[in-house]
Amino acid sequence: MNDQALLVLPELNDPERSASRAAFKSIPFPNTRNEEWRFTSLRPLWNQSFEHISGDETKAAALIADLDLAETAGRRIVFLNGQFDATLTDLSDLPQGVSVRPLAASDAALIGQADSFESDYFASLNSGYFQSGILIHISKSVVSSDPIAIYHVVTDAQALALPRVLYIGEMFSELSLVEVFTGIEDATYLHVPFTEVILKDEARVHHFRVQKEGNAGLHVNRTASVLGRGADLQSFTISVGARVFRNDIRVALDGEAAHATIDGLVLVHENQLSDTHSILDHRKPNCTSHQLHKCIVDGVGTSVFNGKIFVRQIAQKTDSYQANHNLQLSHHGMVYTKPQLEIFADDVKCSHGATIGQIDDEQLFYLRSRGLSDQQTRYLLTFGFAAQIVNALPVGSLRDRLTHEVDQFTRKRFEIEPA
């Protein structure tokens, strides 16, 4: 067999995670004959060997500095090559009522609670073998506007990084969590993070995820959330880096009147592949969900979107919105989009739509008639397509940073000089 990655895994014998390891061993390495991986070839992983490697803190610090978010000073957690890094972590300014601590063997019962979904190769890899994990806990009624950042950094070629995060928001709590995934350029590594978010009744979290892996990095993640009654998940993911990015989002709306927003922005160029597979599971009545997922595809890049929405029979009065808009800038880019609704209740409102298109001719003429050149106009329209999502982000430094990211990406596409 050579159509799979060669993972060098430690011999573990703790009983708590043995079931996950057994599951992992029973699941074959995904290939494109598997419906869930039909358009996402993992060929760049084939015959590559990956193992746990201790990271380089100097390189990591530089990568973090490049994505510095001023509002998160004193509230930064760092995973280096999948391992919690106490030196780079700085929790000197945690809000009262917020605690952060490593996950211990005794936490086994907490792990996996949010992930009531079918496991796959990578999810069970993380669950069975994660190197270290942390628990972020927000006490009841604690509301803080100071965001916490988690930097997941990889500094070595052939590293296998398996970090684990568990977020528990007690009743009426509210917090912003920024997860940044980054790594060195020109190095093939495998980053498989797994984040669980548990929101108790009326809890709210803003969960921002920035994927800016190195250009040869391979990233497969799972984020699983479970929402109690009236809970509110505001999730936003931007994908700009990595050779292959697979983003598995799972949300269970498990209490009445819960709400989930899972918006996304994907920028791919050259031979990048970015794949978002999401499941929004409406399990209780009166819940609402919103998913606006936008992709810009250039070069021979590939964008894959599969958005499943389940509305169970009991989940009456569900109101769900899903849209996937793809802007193609090149002739050779590929876009695969598959909205997928499975509705078993009979009194619901679900709208969904997907578009794949080029830049609009009337918009093009309108701006050109104002004296903007063809290139400038295409740049502005492409920027605007992406900015629409980024502009809505509430954390200032993150919004500025991502606006800059989008601006750089679009300028490069149209050979416009940096501002």
Binding site: D361, E362, Q363, F365, Y366, L367, R368, S369, R370, G371, L372, S373, D374, Q376, T377, L380, L381, F383, G384, F385, A386, A387, Q388, N391
Partner: protein, 250 residues
């Protein structure tokens, strides 16, 4: 300033303009009127360089130079402006951002120094006052969520900012209530000047109560069938287009 000679233009193989001759000098205001489907809007779009229209015969000279082969943005930088009948919404791009880039492009073309964002802000605020537009609108995305009247006013703001030599207004009056019409007309009159020419495309005479034209042309089935002074517009308002259509034998 603008000389149109025997202009024929078609879209998707259908001929819309069938031989237009028009001569507009600096300082003049020309109104082009005509029934629906006569080619009024097409004329302004062809002059602005809309790629959907193919010019099959004739020529358009702007300050002595043929602009037929020029891209729309080249024409705009020379000083040709079109206020759209249906202004286009541009999500994610603010008015201020678009206008600064456009205005600086024109300045570069004229060998002038570009304005930095702060200087441009001042310039833009001044122009907002001129067209009586709430300056909060400039930080909103271009035309996105604007009311019909705001969109039209935004076209006039853009015109004021870009300061064109030839301003074409394609049914800028349609869909406006009387107050908005007064504001828009007022803005156009402020921009009027001896070095500028204005081409007003309109279906109704109403806007001509506020902007007095030097010439009125009646366009029917892609040809100018009658030209005259401002009294021609009043005659049309009274008699409708039918008498003219009969007289023109169409």
């Amino acid at each position: 300033m603008l000389i149109i000679k025997n202009l024929h233009a078609s879209v998707e193989g259908v001929e819309i303009l069938r031989g237009i001759d028009l001569n507009i000098k600096a300082g003049e205001v020309h109104a082009v009127m005509g029934p629906n489907g006569s080619g009024k809007s097409t004329l302004s779009k062809v002059i602005a360089g809309h790629p959907a229209y193919e010019v099959t015969q004739g020529d358009i000279l702007f300050n002595g130079q043929s602009i037929l082969e020029m891209e729309p943005d080249e024409r705009a930088r020379l000083g040709v402006f079109l206020a759209f009948q249906y202004p286009v919404e541009i999500p994610g791009v603010t008015n201020a951002m678009m206008l600064r880039q456009a205005y600086n492009g024109i300045r570069r073309e004229n060998g002038e120094e570009e304005l930095d964002p702060l200087e441009f802000d001042d310039y833009l605020t001044e122009k907002c006052k001129l067209v009586e537009m709430d300056s909060a609108l400039v930080d909103r995305n271009v035309n996105e969520g604007f009311s019909g009247g705001e969109k039209k006013r935004n076209e006039i703001l853009q015109m004021a900012v870009l300061n064109p030599k030839l301003a074409m207004l394609d049914e800028t009056d349609s869909g406006l209530d009387i107050d908005a019409l007064k504001v828009v007309s007022h803005g156009i009159n402020k921009i009027r000047g001896i070095d500028k020419a204005i081409l007003l495309v309109t279906h109704y005479q109403r806007i001509l109560n506020y902007i007095t034209p030097d010439f009125v042309h009646v366009l029917v089935k892609g040809r100018i069938v009658k030209s005259g002074g401002k009294e021609l517009a009043l005659q049309l308002e009274d008699e409708g287009y039918d008498t003219l259509l009969e007289a023109a034998g169409v």
